[in-house]
Amino acid sequence: MSEPTPPVRQAAGARGAQADAARTNLLSGLRGVGELRHLGLFVALALLVAVGLVTRPDAFATASNLVSVLSLAATIGVITVGATFVIIGGGIDLSVGAVMALASVWATTLATQSYGPVVMAVCAVLVGTGAGLVNGLLIAYGRLVPFIATLAMLVAARGLAQRMSDRKTQLVQQPDNGAIVSLSTTRVLGIPLLVYVFALVVVLGWVVLNRTTFGRRTYAVGGNPEAARLAGIDVRRHTMLLYALSGLCCGIAAILIMARTTTGSSTHGDLYELDAIAAVIIGGTLLTGGRGTIMGSILGLLIFTLITNLFILNGLNTSDQLIAKGLIIVVAVLLQRRNLKERAP
């Protein structure tokens, strides 16, 4: 090892060339896989669209129906973005629906409503973020298992929402606070404002996840928390922030659900947790953390929403719908099964 540098460099060069060829193969291979995953989801979506076109040529492909699908997806869509972060970060948040309900109730109490729509919106966001922060503190610093901590939050937030609202549905006072409702009724280019809010959240989520240190750390914390810790990441703080982020999304979703239903209610968002998690997983994010994409989650969600829409258009009865839904889920996932191979036992 008297003069190591030159020969090594040389060898590296030679190997470099050989490996370059390999890399090209591999890359195309990998890209293929990457696309395939989303391809599977796209194929599933395309199939659903085809079914729609065939069964309801008149109603399905209309602009108004597509807008309606997007409006339907918006609320839970915003929540799904937060859920994607939490799940990639190795956690789970069962409290999303309940926290959204609590935020909607808090924002529509008479006291809050008296301050006008901006304060209502801010209130919803703060309540959501606050609840998320409590989840985060319990999990990151109190060392509770995420499943249990957020289950407790689910239960408690629903109870609190019921108490606050005296189990009644609280109307958004119009016209004073009509600005909230106008998110649903005002359209720009034919599309209700809340769809834009949804789109904005998705884009922001994508950017944060893919282009910032926060996003990168989320993958690290979920993929290997010990490695993340030893690499100098404050894993606890990060974990806490992930739940706060999820809560923030619930707060935004609360504004959207107030707009759509013109109410705050303790019953809002029932079982959203299951739907959101299902969308995230269908989208290819692993429940074990460390992997996943926002894009996949949103595609997964759109598949679910489209299924419902198709059922509505075709007037299927509930029981048959459920059976069909089960089958469709299985087929959609089988279409993208290859990517999940690693996970399977």
Binding site: S64, L171, V181
Partner: protein
């Protein structure tokens, strides 16, 4: 229950007496859209079936039901799709009247008359006609039955237990209020109340613990005959029979219990799903611009409240054909 060998006719909708003025004669073709919560229990299932059966009777009606769902957000979408399909009239049983108010308003503004079934929209601009049961009245009927029975027995300071349906529904709160108000006239009040979720299993669970909480009960009102099956099973399992029980809604099963005379269930106060049959008929009439032939007016009235009747051993025969399968 569907599996009673002696089960009643396939539709609980009773054959109507023909209308006096030939309102049943085929008229202008109309499309009636229908949206209701998910048919996950007997009463709602009966609503959906009655609506469909009522529509089938008319050759001039095209019936368009949409996906029943318990998610408000989805029901809004469902109604939106019916508006987009430009139906001639809508029958809506909202999951929550307040939350669906806006979309009903949209329909009305789009020129589609809305028949509001059961749970009320707060805004009268949102619907053309409301038809539904009298929830407060139901509580009152149950309260009077209980009050009278206990007075007869000469009980003072009775233990009265109430098992509600879904706590967050306004109709539950109305029922409880009516019950309390009626009891007050006898100087009684409710000792304990718990909500079950309208299902057999939750009824059973809640009743099991309530029976433990109160070793001696004088009267029990259960808001809903669907969950009542579970409540009765819990009572039998505990071997309790010291009290009077009153049901709610008027299921076939409850009526048979009452008829047997050997059950704690001595009465039920009606909240009949036949209202759905009537709602579809009203929607047809409104869409065709007709009035109700037994009334003097040329148009269908703005609201119709069904009376809550009390079914006991004495009058149960008369009600059996109206009982719905839970």
């Amino acid at each position: 229950t569907s599996n009673e060998p002696a089960a009643a006719p396939s539709s609980a909708a009773p054959a109507p007496a023909p209308a006096a003025s030939g309102n049943d004669q085929p008229g202008e073709k109309v499309v009636i859209g229908f949206s209701a919560p998910a048919a996950d229990h007997g009463w709602i299932a009966a609503i959906a079936k009655n609506a469909e059966a009522a529509a089938k009777r008319y050759s001039d009606v095209e019936f368009k039901p949409v996906e029943p769902t318990n998610d408000i957000n989805q029901q809004i979408s469902a109604v939106e799709s019916l508006i987009a399909a430009k139906v001639s009239a809508l029958v809506i049983l909202p999951n929550d009247g307040q939350q669906l108010n806006q979309v009903a308003l949209q329909a009305t503004q789009a020129g589609i008359p809305v028949v509001n079934l059961d749970r009320v929209f707060p805004d009268k601009l949102a619907y053309r006609t409301w038809i539904g049961g009298d929830n407060y009245g139901m509580g009152v009927a149950a309260g009077h039955f209980v009050g009278r029975k206990l007075k007869e027995k000469g009980v003072s300071d009775p233990v009265i237990v109430e098992i509600q349906g879904i706590a967050t529904l306004p109709l539950t709160q109305d029922r409880s209020k009516g019950f309390a108000d009626a009891l007050k006239t006898y100087g009684f009040s409710v000792t304990a109340k718990q909500d079950a979720k309208f299902t057999v299993e939750t009824g059973n669970q809640v009743a099991t613990s309530l029976l433990q909480a109160h070793k001696k009960i004088d009267a029990l009102w259960n808001h809903d005959d669907d969950q009542g099956v579970g409540v009765l099973a819990a009572i039998k399992e505990a071997g309790r029979n010291e009290f009077v029980m009153v049901g709610g809604a008027g299921s076939l099963n409850a009526m048979k219990e009452i008829q047997s005379g050997s059950s704690v269930l001595q009465a039920t106060v009606t909240y009949s799903p036949t209202m759905a049959s009537s709602a579809v008929r009203l929607a047809r009439l409104i869409a065709q611009g007709k009035g109700m032939s037994d009334l003097v007016e040329n148009q269908v009235p703005q609201s119709i409240t069904l009376a809550s009747e009390t079914i006991t051993k004495e009058n149960v025969e008369k009600y059996l054909p109206l009982g719905f399968e839970s």
